[in-house]
């Protein structure tokens, strides 16, 4: 029993890492623009297809992985520059509409370019149990990759001038512009980073759930739940929330509701958090003058 629980928690942390990455990508965009990117999952799926294309073309795994991340970064920046700029002060309905449109377009493009059949995605990690059999090689490897990504994002925002400028732009656009930060480009960079993080998450989850154009729909839902649980304006909170949701999902799936209702569990988490504590566990209250 106890070994089972530990096993569930460990693999919950492994999948939670994926949710944490996507949640972080969502929060990065939310913090800067107060938009929730409904297309985040589809963007990550598309990036994963890019990686698969390069792997199939004969590139080594990590080279293909790097190409996919860089291309995704470019796609993210482009989307922000072209589609999202005019929306900066648009009403919620307009931004939701554009994001849903983006979701539909990217989803169709994935199906169009890469076909709707379910594909296998290779893993660069050894296929044998690790840590005394609690985790598979891929789970351990993907957790490590996720942690490296999260750590480097943290270091980037804490210790580089560019990271500081991006934080400033998200925190107070007007003042940042006055001290010479190019706010528009900072937002575009944020989008690029979010897309790149999504690409990593997509490549890490694809070997487990297999690759098809709708691969990330459920994962996006858990990422929403994680981001809201931790506080959608707090990156650290969102990451912890993502891990927490991974563990809750695994434990709940194993002992509470069964695997058939796992998505409903995410829905319940979302509704519970938003009704009981809308700011999330670590979010801050924002007061506005009327």
């Amino acid at each position: 029993m106890l070994a089972g629980v530990i096993h569930q928690i460990m693999s919950g942390i492994a999948t939670g890492g994926i949710y944490a990455s996507v949640a972080l990508a969502l929060v990065m965009i939310y913090q800067a623009t107060h938009h929730v990117n409904f297309a985040q999952g589809e963007m990550a799926t598309f990036s994963t297809y890019i990686a698969l294309t390069f792997i199939n073309a004969g590139f080594p795994y990590w080279v293909a992985f790097a190409i996919a991340v860089v291309l995704s970064f470019g796609i993210g920046v482009t989307i922000e520059r072209v589609l999202m700029r005019p929306l900066a002060n648009a009403p919620v309905l307009a931004s939701v509409g554009v994001f849903v449109g983006l979701l539909l377009i990217i989803n169709s493009l994935s199906g169009w370019f890469f076909d709707y059949t379910i594909k296998q995605f290779p893993t660069p990690f050894p296929d044998r149990p690790m840590l005394g059999g609690y985790l598979s090689g891929h789970e351990l490897g993907s957790t490590a990759v996720t942690l490296i990504v999260l750590l480097s994002v943290y270091l980037f925002f804490r210790h580089t001038r560019l990271g500081l400028a991006m934080r400033a732009a998200a925190f107070n656009a007007t003042s940042s512009r006055l001290v010479g930060v190019r706010v528009g480009w900072m937002l575009a960079l944020g989008w690029g980073l979010a897309a790149a993080i999504g690409a990593v998450a997509g490549c890490m989850v694809a070997p487990i759930v297999f690759l098809d154009p709708n691969m990330m729909a459920g994962i996006l839902l858990y990422a929403f739940a994680g981001a809201l649980l931790g506080g959608i304006d707090n990156p650290l909170g969102a990451v912890l929330g993502g891990f927490a949701v991974g563990v809750i999902e695994n434990l709940g799936g194993a002992y509470l509701v069964g695997t058939e209702l796992k998505l409903t569990l995410a829905l319940v988490i979302i509704v519970t958090v938003l009704t009981i504590k809308p700011t999330g566990l670590m979010g801050r209250k924002v007061y506005s003058r009327v």
Binding site: P91, V92, V100, G101, I105, G218, L220, E260, A266, P278
Partner: protein, 362 residues
Amino acid sequence: MRTPWLIAILVLLAAIVPVAGFTDYHLFQLTMVVVYAIAILGLSLLTGFNGQISLGHGAFYAIGAYTTAILMTTWNVPYWLTLPVSAVVCAGVGFLLGLPALRLGGLYLALTTFALAVAIPQILKYKAIEDWTGGVQGLVIDKPDAPFGLDLSPDQWLYLFTVAVAAVLYVIAWNIVRGRIGRAMMAIRDHAMAAEAMGINLAMVKTRTFALSAMYTGLAGSLGAIAVQFVAPDSFGVFVSIFLFVGLVVGGVSSIGGTLIGAAFIEFVPNLADKVSKAAPGAVYGVILIAVMFLMPAGAGGFLYALWRRVFRARSGQGAAPEQPVEIGAVSYEPDSGLTGMQTGAAFVDRPVPSENAGRNE
């Protein structure tokens, strides 16, 4: 006041001409247009007139469809009797979901309903209710024959039946929107706090609008299930909700007439685009959705209404103020109408509200 008569004659023509001249397949397609129109009308009442964005109305469509299918297969209830039951069930579910929705403004409601839309197929497949829902296989139902010995094919009869139900629902919606409740709904959409100060009971109006909206979309689901003769969990995935949303935006979020345009759009565009590629309908939807958002935020309905008014005014010289300014573009890019209207919805709730909007754009 000739307009009601004109509309009544148009509806009669729309009911009789296709029955007389169309093949059964085209009639089926038209039936689905009317079904989608009812569903979009429900969404419009909620999103367009009350400002609560839902990306999960496919869930209510599914609940309505399943209510009808279960009643017809398990209890042999006649199809027309399932409609009132379905209306009550969906209104009830909508009311219950409207309670947490009270605390979720704008974006958060969109997010939660999106989650509902993603989760609904899994709920429908749930083992414990498999005896009723038929699990993954779903349920097959029979198409009803025309009553009273009328010499009509089942498709013809179903089309007439659907048009009749739709006509009733449209008249009700029209009157609600033009009346006191409609004013309250729109006041909440445009400025919740001001509406509350005027004595409107926010919680009551918003939950009841949610219930009404769910009822409309659920009834559409019931009619759709009878027309398609089949319900299964995977036909009610997240894309049903998204397509309803697309239809709403294309037709014009707060345009009652526009719901018909939006419904025709989501019924016929896939048929046309399918010939290019399986992926084309989604891409076309997405591109048009974004284009409408940028170029024609009031949708086709709002656009046509504005056009009609302009022509009308040009002909009658000046004046001729519109009798009822019903078709209001809820989506406007003026920060003072849409933005504050949406985001200060339920402003008494502590949740992140963007306070720093000025000067984000260069």
